[in-house]
Symmetry: C2
């Protein structure tokens, strides 16, 4: 059985309608609302074929059809056309994105909030993975007799800090000198790539300050061990409650729980190894509780390193064309901002 033009059109109609209404779509509805020039009976026959081919499903023996995961997949792969964001939306994005964005963290937060607002789905992003980025500077700051704060600035203004306890606290000037020494040693090196040679140099250059050297190293170890992907942040999780798919509290609860234990989600997100945007439909997510959800992910990068993933979570019947266009223009925007940061840095060095 061939998947001809007409069948595709009918499938598209079913998906479009189902995205809008979340109700099974019947043959008469299609005949009336979509001007295909064929009668409901013909559509019924075609639908019967589409069902046999696995693209649509009949939830109850005599109800309309809903798209199957496979149907969405076909739609996304063959039918979906990426459309650019409208001018008005673009304006909103630009004004929102250009405030208070010196630090990537804020930029991403803001972006996620914006995405969830524009789409009414849930936005997910992973913190920039710091271990792949180059160290810019390291500074020390004594807080009192025993507490020392180590501040690490990586490329792109990614800041990490840690407060540690020390037995012996050098005076301020010494700390400053130590920090310039450490910075000279480590500037430009990717955190993950710090090897034994650097460690050795560190200990010899920080001669007499072994304690501090070892604290630096354990901080850096901590950063480079950090699980391949940064912590996940969510925005607009409450939108989930608005989906009819989750009008049953139990289902919503179980999804929320799944979002809380982020590990499986982290795996999913880290699947996207840079490059294009990726779509997981229903069971393709590999997460039982998300069989009625889809996730669209993409990565954002700056400098030479992939830094993080950003995605949108919604019901399988999400408006893929909107989601795809919002997500891709968002990333374009973020990367624009980030590359500005980068450029500034290059001028610097």
């Amino acid at each position: 059985m061939a998947l001809d033009e007409r069948k595709l059109k009918i499938l598209q109609a079913i998906i479009t309608d189902y995205i809008a209404t979340a109700e099974p779509v019947g043959s008469r509805t299609i005949a009336k609302k979509y001007d295909l020039g064929i009668s409901s009976a013909t559509i019924r026959n075609e639908m019967s074929d589409l069902e046999e081919m696995g693209f649509i499903i009949q939830p109850h023996a005599s109800s309309g059809r809903i798209p199957s995961d496979l149907g969405y997949r076909l739609y996304v792969d063959k039918i979906l056309r990426r459309q650019k964001l409208g001018d008005e939306d673009k304006k909103i994005v630009n004004t929102m994105i250009n405030r208070n964005v010196n630090q990537i963290q804020y930029l991403m937060d803001e972006t996620a909030r914006l995405i969830s607002k524009m789409t009414n789905y849930t936005a997910i992003f992973s913190e920039p993975v710091v271990k792949n980025t180059k160290i810019n500077k390291i500074r020390f700051m004594s807080l009192n007799d025993t507490d020392l704060m180590i501040i690490l600035a990586a490329e792109g203004n990614v800041i990490r800090n840690k407060i540690v306890s020390v037995n012996y606290m050098p005076d301020e000037d010494t700390l400053y000198k130590l920090s310039t020494v450490v910075t000279d040693l480590m500037h430009g090196i990717i955190i993950e790539n710090i090897g034994q040679d650097i460690v050795d140099k560190l200990y010899s250059e920080l001669n007499g300050y072994d304690e501090i050297a070892s604290l630096i190293m354990s901080f850096i170890d901590e950063l480079s061990k950090s699980s391949g992907m940064g912590k996940l942040h969510f925005s607009g999780t409450n939108n989930i409650l608005a989906f009819p798919e989750f009008s049953d509290v139990e289902k919503a609860k179980s999804l929320f729980k799944t979002l809380e234990k982020t590990d499986s989600l982290t795996n999913l997100l880290s699947d996207n190894k840079g490059g294009d945007l990726q779509i997981y439909i229903g069971n393709e997510t590999g997460i039982e509780e998300m069989k009625d959800c889809s996730i669209v992910t993409t990565t954002y990068e700056f400098g030479d390193n992939i830094t993080g993933t950003i995605g949108i979570l919604g019901p399988t019947r999400m408006d893929y064309s909107q989601v795809v266009s919002v997500l891709s223009s968002m990333v374009e925007n973020i990367e624009g901002v980030l590359n500005n940061l980068e450029d500034k840095k290059k001028d610097d060095s």
Copy 2:
């Protein structure tokens, strides 16, 4: 009509039962489950009195009774006896609270998570209000040609930082010197109390670096303007979905929305001006969407200044005795840890 011993006992039975079951309580249930030595008929008469007095309510003309806000209020004021946390719980608290708590932020996060886990309600805390605290140190750190990070450490290891853009970036050594000058000038001063005299001194001592002086001042302004109360953080909001009170998704959604716009909640929390723990029952919260909720709040403090509020949000039928004991021992613990930090600082100066 007098509120005698027996009526109190019946009220307590109703509340206890309702807390456990979330179902209206009938006279026979009480007669059977609670050994009051009187028949259901007598209990019925007494319940009729209690209803007249406003302590209980009959949701439907012929169902059992549920406690009214007033009833809970009486219970909380007269009957509730504060019990100490059990030994086992105490152990959990201690082990959890003693890791990774150098920075108040983490300590509070951890505490909130713990509270929501122990009670199955939602924990809320406000960030330490930085504007009432004394400045410890200020440091600068250049990130590149144009981006400068200002780091402010206040007492109790409260850290705030901001990245700003500058037109002219002094070299590292100069920045360091400037930061010691600024620190000398501002150390020990409460952020909010920085007046014109200090501003004048700042500009004169930072002669030639007006841009940096003004950036510092706008950062400090920002901190001291921050709305009387720090940002709110939540933990265990998903627990709300488990309350039968919110098995209707619409209700849950509206409560979540209310939690999102934090302003009214912030007001409520800031009501507690230090001292003892406060309980808001149902409409006492003054928030329409929370008429079926209660909030128990308390403040944590260290040094000489009140720093933040922490609270528990649950249905009006929450287990007040558990909540009260968990909350008060938590605060005891936090303050223990915080005062250790303080002591260290005192040794320092």
